[in-house]
Symmetry: C2
Subunit: 263 residues, 2 copies
């Protein structure tokens, strides 16, 4: 295990706990339940799932796994991958789904980072929430390099897209993959900056909308839009592909899927 | 349009109507609703969807589309593909989901057929239904060649399989792909034989189980198993992949998905 890997693991695990603690402040009584699992080639994960009254289903997972052959096109050979992956499916359709993934990957010859976060309204669309979410991401990234946000914003627009429906998954966000500056500390600072900006980007939205009344018709729309989310995750998501092809834990990979969906 | 293509189209369209008529005899009042669509490169489809009280959702689709480049690995260049594709999602969990697809494909240099049908219980498992379903398929295929059923049975076991869950989708059935004897009339007889055996394979099961009482717990199990069906169709199904990569109608491709599913 390299020093960089250990640093990434500690950071992701601490971030996982920080987000869990913050989410639980919004939830009256239900709490995250932890499941630990071991990977077939070494390493494993800590999956934390909350099924509550505000968060109908939220999953905040950490994993750190070894593999013999990197399963995607951008590298080869033995690898170590560690990351945090989270998603929320809110009971109230006025509260959007949010997703974040941050990862650090190391092979014999190179290492890189990837990830991002994005916001998906489930039928109730608030332009001011989009503005707050993006402004928070921009403000954080601008502290490192003002060229990052426009680039990551564009990459999110391309990545969080459903070709078969000809539409973006939601209101976008930021996305980057196979990112390496040549200096691990600089890459690590980017992971830390994105990670630290996540809660300020989403929590104010949840606090503001939490008590907005909703109708049975709103729930019908929510359920249809959740179906599009399922389609994205199973048809296009790189994390899902990576997870299955690296023989990850199917329960951990699929716990991103919504509590219910309808077609 | 070749003579073989025209024959295949007529056969699939007649089979579509026959199955629709038979399904409607089980349904008190709801009826199939037809949507016609045109393909971007020529041709199109007739999608028929029933949302009723016995069939919570059933789709019986015909399509016949031209394309510039065959989108799968087993052929190249311009092609014509026509087929019938159907699925049922039954309200009563004692009634299994059934799926059938039959297709005829023609390129400049070759033509072949493919398809099959399979049975998926949604929590209520009846070994005698499996036996009836498979016996009907075997009896039909044996009239052509006693080697077909064992081969198609094995291919269905391999194809209707969820690697990430390490389980078969359901109780199996028959499956064949890129099948060509060199004699179109012989291939066409196979399509006709499989097509004609479909209703005798499934209808007696539906008639027998239709009035079996079920509990709210049965519905919870049904909804979880429907989720596995979604996973199969979006992660592995060749028809879904073919549909999207040949720029088919997304509504027609995805109308195989269950009315609801839960994770």
């Amino acid at each position: 295990m390299s020093h960089a890997s250990s640093q990434a693991i500690s950071f992701f695990q601490a971030l996982q706990q920080e987000i869990i603690d913050a989410f639980e402040t919004l939830e009256p009584t239900a709490r995250f339940e932890k499941t630990e699992w071991e990977h077939i080639h070494g390493g494993g994960g800590k999956m934390q799932v909350l099924r509550g009254n505000v968060f109908e289903k939220a999953a905040v997972n950490w994993s750190g796994v070894h593999g013999e052959t990197f399963p995607m096109d951008d590298a080869k050979g033995p690898f170590f991958a560690t990351g945090i992956s989270l998603i929320t499916h809110m009971k109230n359709p006025h509260l959007p789904t949010v997703h974040m993934n941050l990862r650090y990957i190391e092979t014999a010859t190179e290492s890189w980072i990837g990830g991002g976060y994005d916001l998906t309204p489930m039928g109730c669309v608030y332009p001011e929430d989009k503005e707050h979410f993006h402004k928070t991401a921009k403000k954080a990234l601008d502290t490192l390099d003002p060229e990052l946000y426009p680039r990551f914003f564009r990459q999110a627009q391309e990545y969080f897209f459903l070709p078969h429906r000809g539409k973006e998954r939601g209101m976008g966000g930021i996305f980057f993959d196979h990112h390496h500056s040549g200096d691990f500390m600089q890459d690590f600072a980017l992971l830390q900056t994105v990670g630290a900006s996540f809660l300020p980007a989403i929590l104010p939205i949840y606090q503001k909308r939490q008590s907005t009344p909703y109708s049975p018709e709103d729930l019908v729309v929510q359920s249809k839009l959740r179906a599009h989310y399922v389609e994205f995750n199973l048809l296009y998501d790189r994390g899902t592909k990576f997870g299955f092809s690296s023989r990850g834990n199917p329960e951990a990979i699929l716990c991103s899927l919504p509590p219910s969906a309808s077609w």
